[in-house]
Structures are given as structure tokens and as C-alpha cells.
């Protein structure tokens, strides 16, 4: 008698449990369908929209990586190859040479090389660049704006929520498809 009762109880519990399992599976199915209608196959990565970026220097300190995954890029077709590069030199440089006191870059990551007179080439040494964007400010304000900050995907770990995006004051961090993970400034996008 008692055995039959406990058996009954156990059967009832099993029945309820399998019912609950079915209900939960149904909910999962519903979620999948809902999301499936509205999902994309490809995964996305973080990138800075250079047209929104104000080079506030928060990228240098807020990335989960040290140094930051954000680096400066020089887009050469836009570069003026100026002698007095406002992205390279301090506002009032003592001399237009590679002396550290003249450079705006705190880590000396920009390599200046003389080409035919009066042009100079400016390359970014990405291993040294910390993504502070000081050069970007100078170049955008007074120059052609060929310097801009980009998330470098050989370093970026693609956090679920980018800790820089969280503090970005100009809302410049966007999700882009992993197949075209860079946003270069206007000129390339137009062509």
C-alpha cells in the first residue's frame, strides 16, 4: 500500500518533470525562431568610426589590453607628406627634426623619413603606439586628417562589450562585419 503510494508519487513527479522539460524546450524553440528571423550569420567585431572619433585619448587607457588594441593608422593616399607635420611636431617645436622634445607622440612611435625635398614620410610603429590619439588631434585640426585611430584586429580580443566603447564620449565605437573590419577615412570609402 505505502509502496504503491510512493510509486504513484514518483510517477507523478516524473510526469510533471517531463512536462516542464517540454515546456522549456518549447520556449527555447520560440527564442531561436524569434532570433533566427532576425539574426546574422557572420559575427561582428568592434571598430572606431573615424568620422565620429574625437581622439579624446580614452582608448589608450580603457582597453582591457595593455597597451591598447587601438592604434593610430596613417592612410598614405591622404597624407600631405608635410615638413611641418602637425601630427608629428609639438605646437611650437624648437626645430623641425626628430628630437624627442619636438615630437607630440609620447612614445616616439612615428617614424619620420626624408623623401625628395620637401616631402617627409610618416610611418607608425605599431609596436610602440599606445593609441592615445595626440597625433590624430594635430593632424585633423591643422592637416589632412590622414592619421586616425583604428582597432587593430591582430590584437583586439573582441570583448562582448568593449570597455572602450563604454566610455567613448562620441559614440564612435561600432560593430562591423568581420569580413570588412576596418573603417578608413572618407577618401577610401568614396572610391
Amino acid at each position: 500500500m505505502a509502496d504503491g503510494q510512493s510509486n504513484n508519487k514518483a510517477n507523478r513527479r516524473q510526469f510533471i518533470h517531463s512536462g516542464l522539460r517540454g515546456a522549456v524546450l518549447f520556449v527555447f524553440g520560440a527564442i531561436t525562431t524569434l532570433l533566427g528571423l532576425n539574426s546574422r550569420k557572420e559575427r561582428t567585431v568592434w571598430q572606431i568610426d573615424p568620422n565620429k572619433c574625437i581622439a579624446c585619448s580614452k582608448c589608450a587607457t580603457n582597453c582591457v589590453l595593455t597597451p591598447s588594441a587601438v592604434k593610430c593608422v596613417n592612410y598614405f593616399p591622404m597624407c600631405g607628406y608635410c615638413d611641418l607635420c602637425t601630427g608629428y611636431f609639438e605646437p611650437n617645436p624648437v626645430a623641425l627634426d626628430t628630437g624627442a622634445e619636438n615630437q607630440i607622440c609620447p612614445t616616439g612611435a612615428i617614424i619620420r623619413k626624408a623623401l625628395e625635398d620637401p616631402y617627409y614620410e610618416y610611418r607608425i610603429d605599431e609596436d610602440v603606439c599606445i593609441g592615445c590619439g595626440k597625433c590624430v588631434v594635430g593632424c585633423v585640426k591643422f592637416g589632412n586628417g590622414s592619421f586616425f585611430l583604428q582597432v587593430r584586429h591582430d590584437r583586439c580580443v573582441n570583448c562582448n562589450e568593449c570597455s572602450i566603447a563604454k566610455v567613448c564620449p562620441s559614440d564612435a565605437f561600432v560593430r562591423v562585419p568581420a569580413s570588412s573590419p576596418y573603417i578608413f577615412r572618407a577618401k577610401e570609402n568614396q572610391s
Partner: protein
Amino acid sequence: MNLRVKLILFLCSGMIFISQYVSFGIERFPPPDFEPGTYTMPQATKPPPRAHYWEYIDMALLLAALSLASYFVHKKRSRKHIFWLTLFSIFYFGFIRKGCVCPIGSIQNITLALFNNGYLVPFSVVFFFLLPLIFTLFFGRTFCAAVCPLGAVQDIVVWKPIKIKPWLENALRIIPFVYLGLAVLFAATGSAFVICEYDPFVSFYRLGGSVNMLALGGIFLVVGMFLGRPYCRFFCPYGAILSILSRFSKWYVYLTSEDCVRCQICDVACPYGAIASPTPTSQENNPIISKWSVFGVIGLTVLLTIGGAYFGGKLSVPLSKVNYVVSLAERIAGEESGKYKGQTDESKTFRERGGSIEQLYAEALKIRGNFATGGSIFGAFIGLIAGLKLIESRFTRQTNIYEPDRASCVACGRCYSYCPREIIRVRNLLKLRPIQKQE
């Protein structure tokens, strides 16, 4: 495409060109025309992100690891195998994959995608969210046992775990639900991904990160030496969902229940306080009192739910400050009324772009409204969970043996190697095998 559409598109693209040209004043210094052949212009490099096929490897390995974990827990019943899988998870899901997107964090992606049609979630994220849930539905929390890298790292640092009182344990287990509710609220309103922001171990797996997060991870690991899996038990929001699903999983961790000798060794061996003790027999002697306590506890649950909804709604104003739009609107409002002097980077950018302040206020108010609704639901949810916990603690199922509690057992398999009955059972199995072979 007809001609008119083409024309409009052409004009639009022209306008975009002009607007960009004006706003950035590019080409103040025209790029030089180098003599052909004298200078090759360097290309700005574009290092690609992690290759696409890795995503499929991740998904396949997750499926494989979950299947193996379930096999080891239920079929092999072997702590040793589970331990090796734990090490693999630390190595692959931790150090190689470096965390994102993990099932715990994916709660937020799924929520945001459900509430915001503009947010598209890749298939792999849906997969990472659902697969462990489905496995839990059938096999219990085998995901926690050896697949989750956050659980794995806490599992191997357990050294001298202390027992905490069941009432305290029960009370603390409400925290994951609060965390889950908050995470869903913030994700649904598009404000923040708090789970990821306060993930204590991701910076450890990346071998870097802010000092605060590394310190938090360190604290969790040190505490974890003396209090088994502190994050999983008292914080993990995904664990909160799993603890509900595992209550009615098809298979679950059991010891040899029919001939338990009540030696209590499993209870001592379990570092996570997940072994349910036999219920004292004198509990339901007085039917009148127990009848009243039924009404009392159910009434209290209703009260807690209503009260939670009320206070949750009140929380909407402080909670909504986490949202970017709301905080910007508050800043701008403060600047307009002279409360704040000067501008922040945010307000300065907003003004320079010529955003409409009225529109910003309207948007912020709408988000705050969402927070009011969401906050009430959140509060009611917490009240309900607290009430259900009370009901559960009041009416535990009568048992006279020691057995793993289905909700809180993370299937680490330690009890298998301690239960004397289980050891005898395994030994008998091993003895029987050669005889069966001879026949």
C-alpha cells in the same frame, strides 16, 4: 533600377561626399605627386580578425566538451575524468578562446536581441547560449562541472572548503537572481552589459586588464580556496537559470540511494554544500500549524512580489543613470540650468554635432519609462524568488538519506569517489566483468 532612382542615389552620394569634405576640411595640403618609380607609397595594413572557421571549432568543441562531461558524470561516474576535462576547459575556453562570447555573457546578447530589433546576434552566440541550457535540461549542471572556464578555475583551487549554514547558503543564493534580473534589465534597455563588465576571471585568462578586475579575480580565487566556487554559487546569473532547469533534468547526480548508510562522508566531501541532509522526522507533526504556515508563506510570497514591484519601480531613476542617453541628457540639463559648469567630452561632442536637446530629453524620458516598467518587473521577480525560497525551505521533501541537491549540485563528481557504497558498487562491477567474459 530605373533612371530616377539612379539619379537620386547619385545626388545623395554627391551630398555625402560634400558633407564629409566640409566637416573634416581634408586635403589642406594636397598629397604630393611623386615621380613614377621613385617612391612606392606604403599601404596601411589591415590585420584580419580571428578567422571565421574558429567560430565553428568553438561550437564543435563546446558540443564535444558538454557531451564528454555528461558522459563522465553519468556513465563513467569518475572524478578523475571530470578533472581532466576541467583542465582542458581552462586551457581552451579560457586561455585560447579568451572568453568572449561565453554562455554567461550571452544572456545579455540574447536579451538585447529580443528587445531591440536593430541588434543582430550571430548564430554562434545563440548556440553558446542555448546548448548548455539544453544539456542541463537533460543531464543536470554538467556545463558547470567541467566546461565553463569560470567554474573550472574555481574548481581546481578548492583547498580547505568550509561549510556554511544552510539558511545562510539559501539566503545568499538569492544574489544570482538579483544579478540576473539586473543584467537582463540593463541589457534589455540597451544600457550596459554588466555581467561582462564585472566578470572576475576574464582578465586572468587574458593575462592582463585593469588592476581592479585582476584584483577582484584574485580575491575570488583566494576566497575560493576556503569557500568552494564563490562566484558560481553566489553570483553567477547563468548558474541561476541552470539551478532552475536542473531541478527537473532527466538524468541527475545520485549516489547509491537505495542503500545509503548515512555515513555523511559525501556531505563532508562536497565542497559546495550541495548534499541535502536527511530531514528531521519531527517536522510535520502538527497538521494545524503546517496548514497555517502554508497560507502564511504563500501570503508572504504574494506580499514580497507586490512590494518588490513597488520598490523596483522606485529604483528606475537611479538605475537609469547607467544608460548613456539618460546620463547625457542629465548632464545637458544640468549645464542648461547652470548646475554644472563647463562641458564634458560627451556634452561637447553632442553640442558640436548639433543634436537637438528636445529630442535627447524625449529619448531619455522614454528610456527612463522603460526602466520604470522593467524595474517593477525586476522587483516583482526578486520578491517572487525570495518567496519561493521561503516556501522551499519550509517544505523540503522528506528524505531519510543523504543525496545531492539537484539545484545546487554542479556535478563535479567528488562524492562518487567518497561514497563507500559507490566504491563497493564500482568494485563489484569490476569483479563481475571477467566472469561475464568467461561465459
